[in-house]
């Protein structure tokens, strides 16, 4: 990895000592859009878990999940600053754009990572803290440093990091890892490849330029589309699993099945339509899919709790 800190524009400014990273840059390296999805799925893990967690501690758990995810994102941006500078989608990020020193981002990420895990351990429980530490380590060491630049299966295995938050949320309430939580993990794990490959299909040139072996770059669009279709089919039973396990009712089960059918339909459309538009539409729908599946789970669980006279 080349050291861009030697060539970035801010070094040329007549500034000495402290860097010029602004508050907005610090927020940006936490990847707030990724964080919002992570927070939501973690929150659903807390909500559907059996048992009770004090609302203040639930808030702390969600905060720790958010900060931990942001920390992993910051360390990822530090490590990937060389390839980010080569891709149009990421060239304006604080590090490749020269608005922040690499060391700042790394230190910020490490402080937040350690802080979020310690806070989780002190305020919630050690299982949730351990899972949070595992998530951060997995994203940084397994995905970012080991797999991303080496294999087209990078996001298949690395995607596990994004699937941990509901498991952490569940563990925050129960203190263990139950099968229903594993089913939520599986949904996100299987959702990640078609989601990222839809993006990679219309950004393949960018990834090729940066030397990132995404599946469309290495195996071509046809093989990628076949894999995407297979993963959406695997989501049918996976998304129904929380219903089968009794975490959610028929409203969730039927809704999740309908959404999975639509997700597969969008993959079929990508299969038969080679335009960039169909891949963009599938990428957009994939975000909506995950949001709606977890929203349905939350609504169904809340409604069931209200019917029993307990909330949530």
């Amino acid at each position: 990895m080349s050291d861009l800190s030697e060539t970035t524009p801010h070094i040329l400014l007549p500034l000495t000592g402290a860097s010029i990273g602004g508050v907005g840059d610090y927020v940006e390296i936490l990847k707030p859009r990724v964080m919002s999805l992570v927070v939501f799925t973690g929150l659903v893990g807390i909500a559907v878990a059996p048992g009770h967690l004090n609302p203040v501690l639930a808030l702390v758990a969600v905060l720790c999940i958010a900060v931990g995810a942001g920390a992993a994102g910051a360390i990822n941006m530090w490590y990937d600053r060389d390839i980010d500078a080569m891709m149009a989608r990421t060239a304006a990020r604080p590090l490749p754009a020269g608005r922040m020193m690499p060391g700042e981002a790394l230190a910020f990420g490490i402080v937040l990572a350690v802080g979020s895990v310690l806070m989780m351990a002190l305020a919630v429980n050690s299982i949730a803290a351990g899972l949070l530490a595992l998530t951060i380590a997995f994203y940084v060491f397994v995905y970012t440093i080991w797999l991303k630049r080496r294999t087209p299966q990078n996001i298949v295995i690395g995607g596990a990091a994004g699937a941990f938050p509901p498991l952490i949320g569940w563990a925050a309430v129960t203190g263990d890892i139950g099968w229903p939580a594993v089913s939520l993990f599986t949904i996100i794990f299987l959702w990640t490849p078609p989601h990222f490959w839809a993006l990679a299909l219309y950004r393949a040139g960018d990834y090729a330029k940066a030397g990132v072996p995404m599946l469309p770059v290495v195996a071509g669009p046809r093989a990628t589309k076949r894999q995407m279709l297979l993963y959406t089919l695997a989501l049918w039973p996976a998304s129904a699993a929380p219903w089968v396990m009794g975490v959610a009712g028929a409203m969730y089960g039927l809704g999740a099945l309908a959404l999975s059918i639509l997700f597969t339909a969008s993959a079929i459309r990508v299969w038969i339509d080679d335009s960039e538009r169909s891949a963009r539409l599938m990428f957009g729908f994939s975000l909506l899919y995950l949001l709606l599946v977890f929203s349905l789970l939350l609504v169904d669980h809340t409604a069931a709790g209200a019917a029993r006279g307990a909330w949530p």
Partner: protein, 43 residues
């Protein structure tokens, strides 16, 4: 104002904004630890 003043002022403005944000984060952390302590002792 000279050409050199502007980046220096901009840098000072950014540092002030960062300091304010840091104060906000620290105050929020104090409040959060206070709430956690109340909850933990309460239970």
């Amino acid at each position: 104002m000279t050409a050199m003043d502007h980046p220096e002022q901009e840098r000072e403005r950014m540092i002030r904004a960062r300091n304010r944000a840091l104060v906000g984060v620290l105050v929020a952390l104090v409040a959060l630890f206070y709430a956690i302590t109340i909850v933990r002792f309460g239970s």
